[in-house]
Amino acid sequence: MLTYTLRRIAVMIPIMILLSMVVFSLAKMMPGDALSGRIDPTNSSPEYISAMKEKLGYNDPVHIQYLRWMNDILHGDFGNSFIHKMPVSQLIGLRVYNTLFLTLLALFFTYIFAFIMGMYAGKHPYTLGDNMIATYNYLGFALPSFFAGLMAIYLFALKLQWVPASGSIGTGVDVNTIAFYVSKLKHTILPALVLGMLSTAGYTQFLRNDIIESSRKDYVRTARAKGTSESIIYNKHILRNSIIPIVTFLGFDIGGLLGGAVITETIFTYPGIGSLFIDSLTNRDYSVVMTITMMLSIMTLIGNLIADLLYGVVDPRIRLD
């Protein structure tokens, strides 16, 4: 498995180089650059602009610019955000924890609900409970997340006032106090629930169908012939098989941890990576856009790898070597 992992990582390197070229070219092709965003073109002399361009290296051949960018990245320098006036790494560092907190919490809800509802529906198919869960799932598929988000804000934040409607932290709380974490949780719980409860639909439906399919397998009949109780048959024999595809989903979900909440973060004006990405795109803050795009791509590759590794862990028939 170690050699497999190393080999997979080795394969990832050329893919990442290719990716970085694509990202760089796309950013170059878009109108404007960091300089034109930073200065007021009507108020600056053309001499100043060309001097700055020369200084920033915009007159160099494209491949030199690309190599310089790559070199900087490899040295941990992702450039500066001209909107936020700080290094990109610092800016993203502030946001990354917010997003991770939100998406992990959402993922937790997704899987908890999927397991509770999927296992129930799979064990009792075509009953009232199963039909109710199916109805919920259709809602989950059909409702756009912005609509569900706005509804949730209206109901729980504005009407009931249980939680704040936006942001990630209250004003005037000191970092690392209990009040700080409570405030964080209060700000995050609603977007996380909306995100989790919507995306749980697919997992629930999948788990239900897989359990029903597994329950017809010959090995289940064998277990019954051994005198194994129904609860152990479902919770052990069937679940252990049905968990295999779900666990590989988890790998992909880990890959999507940073980029999975773009819409939700925007609706809840939650200061995470997703909303930062959208803001930077509209403001042409390219060094931020490029860095986030690279991050998301790398995360996706890592998520794929994790999915494959998990698959090898939970399914004894798969040998990774």
Partner: protein
């Protein structure tokens, strides 16, 4: 004679009475087996033969209460196991019997083991289900059992997964699980059908050997009469859900009565013949929804059919010496008044 009958029922392990089971298809119930009376005495081997679709597996699954929950059901009759009617038992009560008093081996060794658990786990489970022993004791016994069914390197095999074993090995594991708790009855549903010819003989030999050693009663299901000759005490021939002939092994082979059995016997390939004689009986067993339930069910394929075979449903009747047949070539098989009104 009456005294002997009484004695027999007292000592039989299994006794099914007028068993009828089948499936709901499109809201309608179709019996897959009807009027099944099978008696098995301790230490005896009863073989059930018949072509694919004749109801052999349904009979076995009914006894184990393992018919598919969605559409399978036992509609009539009793299954007396040591005097208890299994039809009345809850699944929890059946769990006490399954794997302990009755062990079962299935037709499909490739899919009958759970792919994600080790062989050891799966053998231990049947022990732990019924005995209060520790996990390590169960592991020890699993290794012994695997050795007993002829698996070499059992200490390593316990930690392997089903996909690492061949079909024959998997069937040996299934046998180990089925006999783990010294059952009084072993039901083997075509245990060799899915295996290579050489492996088939080994597996049958193994079942025979274990049966002798443990003095178990065995219900061996097969569609190949050839394989059962040396181990069966009694043979039951099924066709389209009914028993059509039933007798001791000798009479079945040397004094067959039913045209279907005669054809079955002819289709057994013989070693001393050069000619390919595997030509099976023309036609097929009617499917569940297509069985014509008036008249003899074999009429369309029967070389000796008479006109009245289409109208009169033959009864399973005793010809003497425990030899029973269901065919209008024998006057005993004509329905009695009572049976006619019952139909």
């Amino acid at each position: 004679m009456a005294g002997r009958e009484f004695f027999n029922t007292e000592t039989s392990i299994l006794n099914t009475k007028n068993l009828q089971a089948g499936f709901f298809i499109g809201g309608k119930f179709y019996p897959a087996i009807e009027d099944i009376n099978i008696e098995i005495k301790p230490g005896k081997v009863v073989c059930v033969v018949g072509e694919s679709g004749s109801g052999k597996s349904v009979t076995a699954l009914s006894i184990m209460s393992l018919l598919p929950k969605e559409n399978g059901s036992i509609q009539e009759g009793e299954i007396l196991f040591e005097g208890r009617n299994l039809v009345d038992l809850s699944q929890d009560d059946m769990n006490e019997i399954r794997g302990k008093d009755i062990g079962m081996i299935f037709q499909e060794p490739m899919t009958s083991l759970n792919p994600v658990f080790t062989i050891g786990f799966q053998v231990q489970e049947v022990l732990l289900n019924h005995l209060s022993i520790s996990k390590s004791e169960a592991r020890e016994r699993s290794i012994q059992l695997l050795r007993q069914v002829g698996i070499s390197r059992p200490e390593e095999i316990v930690d392997e997964y089903p996909h690492q074993l061949s079909g024959g090995m998997r069937q040996r594991v299934m046998i180990a699980m089925a006999i783990a708790n010294n059952p009084k009855l072993l039901i083997a549903d075509e245990p060799t059908t899915a295996l290579d010819v050489t492996i088939q003989a080994q597996i049958l030999e193994l079942i025979k050997e274990i049966q002798k050693k443990m003095n178990m009663a065995v219900m061996l299901i097969t569609h190949d009469l050839g394989v059962v000759a040396e181990m069966a005490d009694e043979i039951i021939v099924m066709y389209a859900g009914q028993i059509v002939e039933q007798s001791d092994t000798y009479s079945i082979f040397y004094n067959p009565k039913h045209p279907y059995l005669k054809l079955l016997l002819q289709s057994i390939p013989r070693l001393d013949e050069n000619r390919e004689r595997l030509d099976s009986i023309k036609g097929i067993v009617p499917s569940l929804t297509n069985i014509d339930r008036t008249g003899c069910r074999f009429t369309d394929r029967c070389p000796e059919a008479k006109d009245e075979c289409r109208q009169i449903s033959p009864q399973l009747a005793e010809l003497g010496g425990g030899h029973k047949v269901r065919c209008l070539l024998y006057k005993e098989s004509y329905p009695t008044e009572k049976a006619v009104t019952n139909r």
